[in-house]
Amino acid sequence: MKKQKDPHPPRWAQRLLAWYCKPELLEDLEGDLNEYFRRNLKNKSIARARIIYVIDVLKFFRLYTIRKPEFINLLIHFIMLVSYIKTSGRNIVRNKLFSSINIVGLSISMSVGLIMISMLWDLFSYDRFHENHDRIYRIISKYQFLDHKDNSFMATTSLKAAKAIKEEFSGIEDVAIFGWAFNGDVSYNDKTIPLSGFWANEAVFKVFSFELLQGNPATALKQPFAIVLTEKSAKKMFGDVDALGKTINLKDKQYTITGIVKDVPTFSHIKFDMLTSLSTREVLEKNNKHEMAWNNIWSTWAYVLMPPRADLNTFQQELNKLSEREDKTIKHTHIQLALQPLTNIMAGENLNNQIGTTIGSTVVWILGSLSFIVILSACFNYTNLSIARSLRRSREVGIRKSIGALKSHVVSQFIVESVFISLLALLVAFGLFLVIRPHFISLESSLQMLKLQLTPALVLLFILFAIMVGVLAGLFPALFFSRINAVQVLKNLGSVPVLKGLTLRKVLIVFQYSLSIIAITATLIIYKQYKHFISFDLGFSTANILNISLKDNKAELLIKELSELPEVKGISQSLLVTSVGNYWGVHMKNPNNPTDSAGVYYNSVDENYLPLHNHELIAGNNFTANTQDSIETEVIVNQHVLKRFNIAEQNPAKAIGEVVKVDGKDLRIIGVIKNFEYGKVNNNSGKEVIIRYLKEKPRHLNVKILSADWPATYAELEAIWKKIDPVHPFEAKFYDDQIEEAFNGLKAAMKLGGFLAVLVICIASVGLLGMVIFTTETRLKEISIRKVMGASERGLLYLLSKSFLTLLLIAASIALPLIYFFFQQVLFPEIANHAPLNLSELFVGVIAVLLLALVIIGTQTFKVARTNPAEILKSE
């Protein structure tokens, strides 16, 4: 007994020693270390003695002490591999139910993993095509005015800083500078196409590997009014004619084409149709003092090419010195500069003012951790199911062991089996991947820059991933089976320690089911809100109205042409399309209290707009037809405006004729309209709205169309558009579709939630099934005896299902309050006009999940409850 109390060396270190040490040396070494440990105990603390023990164990890890891998053993492993695969195959076929559950569970979660892997693969292949990609750094800046410091860096910097670095800094190779933005309609002779691009200096072709097909990379962007087109835009413009040296017209300026660059690869974070020499700006913006200001950090991107093995710290110090010097030129301002590696831009920190769309690390982390949870959950199910089946398999292991299989052989057998299953699952997952891929890419606009295209390397990565999942899933069962004692198992099956860890499994089931209920209920709620928002009564009519984006064209011409079509029932003009999240604000003074003023939102329309959209006039009149260049004198307001400024005691009829000051102009109220949703339905802002008469160019035509054959009508409309504007594409959308689009974010959340819900429910069901089968099988004998003693089938069914029902109820009682609290207390107060939360939505999801679970439990327990007790008791 006394020995028990003695402090002992750390067990794990002892195990480590036993693991690596040659068996013939082990006893000797262990003895020596124990002796030393005892000796250290006398004059040192226990902790110290233990540390010394561990260090000694590690020190003994030498060439002569480590166990050599036995060749014969390896050979056996290799020979047995075929046998393992064969037995795995047989096991899969023998247990079709189990295997298909496993394969389905794994493949669903693996498909998410595949999406993740290909996404990461795409993200990390961004910008790698540049030869010097590991030496290019972007200059990023952080703005501070007095104490107002921005939280994060911006991707842009000032032109001043960019030029200073290029001209003054030593120890750099070059600086490529891009300026925002050089867009517009480019024309040659009578052909015009819209192109977009950047201002860029001549170093762009040196720093980056954009290949110049024609022209001299060193000088192409040197002279003012030089322009470089991509191959594609040159082809669009000139067809097969050589474009080099031609002069094109853009915004009334002449530019000479000095180069043709190969089209920008998809995996470039900088995308353009054309580049124009930065020196042009020096000519155009000669009198703009702001151009070279130190704090004009919003529209220039600078990329530094460093020499190989450059010292970034010294460079950073030089940057700091530059800031210190230039901060003095602008009062109260500090601009901090830093470097960001090129390859870090696509998947790195989410900076503002990016040159193009980036995905950023947040999205990667969220999606990554979601898929990790899903995969882990599926692996755990595999483990759970395998161990649940251990009653059947342990006899096999017992026989294997008694005819000479080592622990390691059993381990590798089970791992081979799980890898086999996960490779089968990979096939299914791959199919799922192909199905999910387009949906995933269309989920969110920023994801559209991914291709998720298959390459041999990616396929190889998939296979590696499947093997990894297989090993992960099979490791625990393999270790479990390898520990089985052959003698005990063959003598008495009941001795298999399957009952361990039962609580953990119960907790897991509760967790999985809570997650399932949360996912499905949240999806249902979001679905209801989405439907609610897109069919919301906005206070005006949107039916059959087609909004055509005018793109700087003259409205009169188009109106004249369009009104000749019989399908067109009415046309109005407007500044913006309301209720889809557009806001134009203006200042309005309170006529009762000159010191009070507030921002109101507005839309400028013509006289046809209000009747066309069925806006309800409560008092007063609509605008009368008016010329656009006459002075603005009239305004129509909504009820909220009357309320906000307390005009005429909020009496609409009396408010007519009151004069309000808007944007410095005195405007007479000629009408009051009913309140309507100006911004987005789910948004609280945009209550006070005034309608002004259109004095500027309208941006949209609102065309009411009644057509029996919509595609034909659309073609007619497009033909008319092409006649008037051959350059820009025809952009027309039905108002209802635009409103639906405005809620695309919600739709994406719904899709993602739905997908996740299906996923979690599948995985949870698989887990539950495994658990049910496991418990019923272990209780076969008990049930048989109960039956013999006269238990009814119904009673048995209840007995077997009771514990699971309790688990499910616990899961529901955790999930429902969470969901309710989240939506009712956290989310809904932020959202205007939301649909109320009904108990029905809350319970539909729960009931669906519970029913599914009941079917799973019922079928299994029913099978067991109906077995003939004599059969089971006979075989014991």
């Binding site: 006893e27 000797d28 020190k59 030498r62």
Partner: protein
């Protein structure tokens, strides 16, 4: 294998094994060496050297009885083989011969 030539530390360990006669096991050798050389001798080093000496055939080992101090593990006792004796003698001989070449060295040093 470097042949039967002994390194300095190998020679010391071998001598200690010989000196301890029937009580030469790793920890004992370690203690003895520490006592006589005055330098701290690490167990790991002694182990490695004993292992090498056994490989060279200069010592042989056998397991003794288990003791409580060693947590129930048996000691491995080492004894010097004939080859070991021969190489010790040879080393001593070489040294003696060299010593004899130096006249009055001992007196000068003092």
């Amino acid at each position: 294998m470097k042949g039967s030539n002994l390194g300095e530390f190998e020679e010391l360990v071998l001598l200690t094994v010989a000196a301890l006669v029937n009580d030469a096991y790793s920890v004992g050798i370690c203690d003895e060496l520490t006592k006589y050389t005055g330098r701290e001798v690490k167990l790991g080093v002694v182990h490695a050297v004993l292992n090498r000496l056994e490989d060279k055939g200069l010592v042989k080992s056998s397991l003794g009885e288990a003791t409580n101090v060693r947590g129930g593990k048996r000691k491995r006792y080492y004894t010097v083989t004939n080859a070991g004796k021969a190489s010790l003698l040879k080393a001593k001989e070489v040294r003696d011969q060299l010593w004899s070449l130096i006249p009055d060295f001992g007196f000068k040093a003092i």
